[in-house]
């Protein structure tokens, strides 16, 4: 982020003794357009040509969102669109730059040798927006974490925290009950932001009451008419004098995808979120519009319930893993704006494990052989792949998979559900296989633990009777308690090998997040997560 903070943050990071810091060094997905394995991926046009005058300040950015906001209390709202607003109005202790943790409200940190105490030095220049209008101190951080930790609002993510204390005016110390490696990177999670107690109290005090945001971020909340428009205005006293460049950001929900693209082309908005792969081509080819692309924001899989026949038979899962043609799915579902993927992390991430020749590639013959060797467990069976029509990636994955399975002599059909129904079936384990996708997670623990480990209650579909189950549980436990980065990398490498071997799920694709921009809009900085930093953006008049 802001120059100096970053430098300090990175330096501290590199010299940190505690491994947990390093552990959080999540996958660098090369969000800025780093070349990837797929050579025929359409190129994004963003930042292709920045005008010579450099950034200009002033102006209003009009943004079209894919859905209505679901509320503005940062500690009790769950939607991505609301989080985009939270991300620009409030600040977290940490953020990520080029895949590594960097300071936001924190300028420096130290992790105790036992991996259980984290001490953060805070910036002394952070101010709350009016009407609070005062400097932020460690007490505000303590208050905020106590507030978000009530009523299980943050789920299990904060449960490892034993105490949060202000150990100085600008120093705060977290003590964990046990080592929990992902904790450090969680501090960059959007809802873990600092709020001023007096503003919260004035608006009612309860969780969910704080609907008129007062934060320390580069933009302050100005007005919100639910369903119609939310306006953010520049916070003049923001501690970084170079940011934000814009005077204001106006956010309007435009739920229909076609209308959203039309609104951008008609110059009714300057930026739209959630552009589909099929619309991306139109926006790229139009002189007045361009794309901003963030790689790998969604990880698509065929998710499998390994306790339900015939999917409890590893040979069936392996055969399906060979029958699937990932590249065809990426082409059809997101018009190539993504990559065929065997794991959630891309090649340039430390969490990526090179499976080499062992990875299960498209090979219908091999699928037949596997089934033959296992005594044809699918004789007379028709596999059902659950999916929904709301998310193109999932729908296309299921449709194409059924066709691809028939090439390998496997009978299958899709069952298209409404999204809420599918989600319910997913959590309740009421499925054999479903096309599914999850948002990109910074820490591998977040991706794997819940899917496999028995303590991840509702997804415990990889039972103890499955091959190497005990070993996989063990690896996942070590992955979250071990704080040394290299050990964690080795742990997850072994885990990936076992996933490839036994196929508790079948990874399909990493799909990109695409935004559309008017061609006079500049300065988008894609980073690890799909929350736009409006403060780096500017428009050319």
């Amino acid at each position: 982020m802001q120059g100096e903070d970053t430098a300090t943050g990175r330096r501290t990071f590199l010299s940190a003794v505690g491994g947990a810091a390093a552990a959080a060094m999540a996958g660098c997905t090369g969000g800025d357009g780093t070349p990837t394995e797929d050579t025929d991926v359409p190129s994004a046009t963003e930042s292709a040509s920045t005008p010579e005058g450099g950034p200009q300040s002033g102006g209003t950015l009009r943004v079209g969102f894919e859905s209505e906001l679901t509320g503005l209390d940062p500690h009790q709202t769950e939607s991505v669109v609301s989080w985009v607003v939270v991300f620009n109005v409030y600040e977290t202790l940490l953020t990520f730059e080029e895949g590594a943790p960097a300071g936001r409200l924190a300028t420096d940190w130290e992790i105790g040798d036992d991996g259980r105490t984290y001490t953060f030095t805070l910036t002394e220049d952070a101010r709350f927006h009016p009407p609070v209008d005062r400097g932020m101190t460690a007490e505000d951080v303590v208050y905020s974490f106590e507030r978000m930790n009530q009523e299980a609002a943050m789920g299990a993510d904060l449960s490892a925290v034993e105490s949060v204390e202000a150990t100085g005016e600008y120093e705060v110390t977290f003590t964990l009950a046990e080592t929990f490696a992902p904790f450090f990177s969680f501090l960059g999670r959007v809802p873990w932001v600092v709020v001023p107690e007096e503003a919260v109290e004035e608006q009612g005090g309860e969780l969910g009451d704080f609907q008129e945001p007062v934060g320390t971020g580069p933009f302050r909340f100005e007005a919100y008419e639910p369903g119609e428009q939310l306006t953010l205005a520049v916070f003049e006293e923001y501690r970084d004098e170079d940011a934000p460049l814009l005077d204001a950001v106006e956010i309007t929900p435009i739920p229909d995808a076609d209308s959203r693209v039309a609104a951008l082309r008609a110059d009714d908005v300057d930026m739209v979120r959630g552009v589909s792969g099929s619309d991306a081509g139109t926006l790229r080819d139009d002189d007045e519009t361009k794309l901003s692309r963030q790689q790998g924001t969604e990880w698509g899989q065929v998710h499998i319930n390994c306790s339900q026949p015939p999917w409890d038979e590893p040979a069936v899962r392996r055969a399906v893993a060979h029958a699937i043609d990932r590249k065809a799915i990426v082409e059809a579902a997101v018009s190539g704006y993504g990559q065929a993927a065997w794991q959630p992390y891309a090649e340039d991430s430390i969490w990526h494990y090179d499976l080499g020749d062992s990875r299960r590639t498209h090979d219908p013959e091999r699928a037949r052989e596997i089934l033959d060797e296992a005594g044809n467990p699918l004789e007379g069976e028709t596999l059902t792949i659950k999916t929904n029509s709301r998310y193109g990636l999932m729908e296309t994955t299921a449709d194409l998979l059924v066709a691809q399975l028939s090439e390998a002599g496997i009978d299958a059909e899709t069952e298209t559900l409404e999204w809420a129904t599918q989600l319910s079936d997913f959590v309740g384990g009421n499925f054999g296989a479903m096309a599914f996708s999850v948002p990109f997670k910074i820490d591998p623990d977040r991706h794997y633990y819940g899917f496999i480990h028995p303590d991840g209650a509702q997804y415990n579909h990889y039972g103890e009777d499955q091959p190497d189950a005990e070993r996989m549980y063990e690896l996942l436990e070590r992955g979250r308690s071990e704080t040394d980065e290299m050990t964690r990398v080795e742990t997850y490498s072994e885990f990936e090998q076992l996933v490839n071997k036994h196929c508790p799920w079948i990874s399909v694709a990493r799909a990109d997040g695409i935004s559309g921009l008017r061609s006079n809009v500049y300065g988008v900085q894609p980073w690890l997560l799909p929350y736009t930093r409006y403060w780096t953006m500017w428009t050319e008049e």
Partner: protein, 318 residues
């Protein structure tokens, strides 16, 4: 003494009560038959079970259904429709802020359709078999056949994107800014009103043609009345069945507005409805459907009242 019209209206209003009660039970029951869990939609696929349980308890989803229903109705008759599971705003406040938008849109559709249908129907009938009639009939056929969401997207691309005359997405209340309000409502109004315009045109044409053949018109002519007055007589009578259709169509416009709001990004009740279905926001869904139903019932009562007025046979003697 109570006039027949008043007696009729009172009877209809009393009838509306059991209808609404039945509707409330049906909505309540049906939406809970649909699989899905609001807590899961709210918290997402990776929510830990303890958090799901906490949210379910907070939303009162653990209570037995009859208890939930009685609670809901008790609050509802006192005007409290509950709080949205998702946004935590009062349902009644959310609806109140969206209702005028939807009514403006519906009214715009209504206005557009009558503006087109009445002249088109009259011209078609009086020029039977000529090219004007052909145009009217052609419009009547096309209008009912074109799906309105598709028409909406076409209009939006043509007038919003290619010609760039009108805004593509959003809404401004005509009360706050009449000019901008009308600009925003024009395309949605045309899209919404076309199907109804087509139905009414066809109906008016055929009713008027039939009426113009009636013998009583000759009696009127024999009195020496001008042809224009004769035509006026016929038209008034031709309108009796047309008004019923217009009334029913108004109800369909309310339903159609759900789709149109989505296409033109209008923040009305339709969007509340769709979001509520997607997120299994039962309480919001109940409130919105109840309001739609109430309006549908109310419009029907008004139409029946108008029918009463137009048709002397029904009115009879006091």
């Amino acid at each position: 003494m109570v006039s027949r019209l008043q007696a009729f209206l009172i009877r209809r209003l009393l009838w509306a009560l059991p209808v609404l009660a039945l509707v409330s039970v049906t909505i309540f029951g049906l939406i809970r038959l649909v699989p899905g869990d609001p807590a899961i939609v709210m918290l997402g696929a990776d929510a830990p079970p303890e958090q799901l349980a906490a949210v379910r308890a907070e939303l009162g989803l653990n209570e037995p259904l009859p208890v939930q229903y009685v609670d809901y109705v008790t609050d509802a008759v006192q005007g409290d429709l509950g709080r949205s599971y998702v946004t935590d705003r009062a349902v009644s406040a959310s609806i109140a802020s969206r209702l005028p938008t939807t009514l403006f849109l519906t009214f715009a559709g209504f206005l557009v359709s009558l503006t087109i249908a009445i002249p088109a129907g009259l011209l078609s009938a009086t020029n039977r078999g000529e090219w004007l009639d052909g145009v009217g009939l052609g419009f009547g056929l096309l209008g009912v056949s074109i799906p309105n969401f598709w028409l909406g997207i076409l209009l939006l691309l043509l007038f919003g994107v290619n010609l760039d005359w009108l805004p593509v997405a959003g809404y401004v209340s005509p009360l706050a800014d009449p000019i901008a309000g009308i600009r925003y409502l024009l395309l949605p109004g045309i899209t919404l009103g076309t199907a109804m315009a087509a139905v009414v045109t066809r109906m008016l044409r055929s009713e008027l043609l039939e009426e113009l053949r009636r013998e009583y018109l000759n009696a009127v002519r024999m009195k020496g009345t001008s042809e224009l007055r004769v035509f006026a007589h016929a038209t008034k009578n031709a309108f009796i069945p047309v008004v019923t259709v217009i009334g029913m169509q108004f109800g369909y416009l309310l339903g159609g507005s759900v789709v149109i709001e989505q296409v033109f990004s209008i923040p009305g009740m339709g969007r509340l409805l769709i979001d509520a279905i997607g997120s299994r926001d039962y309480i919001m869904l109940q409130g919105v459907v109840l309001v739609y139903t109430t309006f549908f019932v109310a419009v029907n009562i008004v139409v029946d009242g108008a029918y009463f007025y137009l048709n002397p046979k029904l009115r009879g003697e006091e």
